[in-house]
């Protein structure tokens, strides 16, 4: 039994052999619960001047939204870049940072700004 084009586009149906039964299958991918960035009330903001590139925030982030970019810091260090689409704003990164380079800022400040710019995110 072939998988139809519309089913393939959704990427959700697997054919199990033998028997050829079509089964709904969850595929690993971002956004299993949508853009979880909407849950956030406080936004982590990284001060790259202070950051030493120690990787601790990357290691502890429970949502895996921090990506380490090698050699892009002001002193040539590796720096964390946060994906705000999915960051839930728990603040674990700010709490484990040994040099206090991550500040938790109220989300309302960013939402007001984004509204002005017409981002539609608010």
């Amino acid at each position: 039994m072939a998988v139809s084009e519309s089913e393939q586009r959704r990427g959700v149906v697997a054919v199990i052999e033998p028997g050829g039964h079509k089964l709904p299958l969850s595929m690993a991918g971002p956004g299993a619960m949508g853009k979880t960035g909407y849950w956030r009330t406080q936004r982590p903001v990284v001060n790259y001047e202070r950051c030493t590139g120690c990787y601790l925030c990357w290691l502890y982030c429970p949502d895996n939204v921090i990506e380490m970019v090698p050699g892009k810091g002001p002193r040539g260090q590796d720096i964390p870049v946060i994906d705000y689409d999915y960051c839930k704003g728990c603040g674990v990164c700010a709490a484990v940072c040994p040099v206090k380079a991550i500040d938790m800022v109220d989300e309302s400040k960013f939402l007001a700004k984004e509204k002005e710019e017409g981002d539609g995110n608010a």
Binding site: M27, T36, P62
Partner: protein, 301 residues
Amino acid sequence: MAVNIKKLPKKPYVIPGHAACPGCPESMGFKYLGMALGDKAVVVIPAGCSSVIQGLWPRQGFGLPILNIVFAAAASTASGLARALKRRGVDAQVVVWAGDGGTADIGFQALSAAAERGEDIIYICVDNEAYMNTGIQRSGLTPYGAWTTTTHTGKKQFKKPMPQIVAAHRVPYVATASVGYPWDFIAKLKKAASIRGFKYIHLHAPCPVGWRFDPSLTAKIAQLAVETGAWILYEYENGKLRLNPPSNRLIDPKKRKPIEEYLKLQGRFRHLKPEDIEMIKKEIETNWEDIIRALKIQGDL
């Protein structure tokens, strides 16, 4: 086995946008599981928070093959899976990722039987000290004095000594770990994967929702639990007990931080009276005495 943080795999085994609460220790722990075992791991998850964290079809938030199964059958399912994969010649490591209820209460007989048969699996108990997924009910691993929705005045019984119970099955590897010390957990997982037979790792995972603390403190509270001596990091390798850093420096009670530092951050211990804190201190002291006695018998102390 030292772990270099910068050389850990960058591949996401926990994928952004999953359904965990902010500051979840289980998704943290699962990330370390992926980092340690890589694509070799096949995970069996009984009912619990981790079955919810995966999110809704057609996506899933964990980047490893997962079999979701009922509470009572996690270890027995993993036994069959490990044997079948071996016969089919697949190079895989079957891992059970169970909560404290799925380990110490409902899943206990399957765990005990798999340990007795010596199945080639890694059993990880993610211990958040209550049934968090169903609404914070007490479990056999809830500590003395802790508030839950079924123990309003604090639990009156002590925590089950789960690692010792499994170690009494004489399995090749039993260890305790904490989400506050990922390098220790990753090293223990790698060691467990290199051993054949039944391996058990007990992962301490502070839950911000159920323990009533700020989500940013997950890692800090996990570290405080170890530094105050409330949670001890050790491993039994072929029956031989060894303390791991930083717990190996804390045999002397004077070197431990006061337990109040750990208790005062958590809302579930808010109602404690001084005599309750004395009871908790006594329990911790008993746990340490057991460890020290075992080390003395081995001649390591």
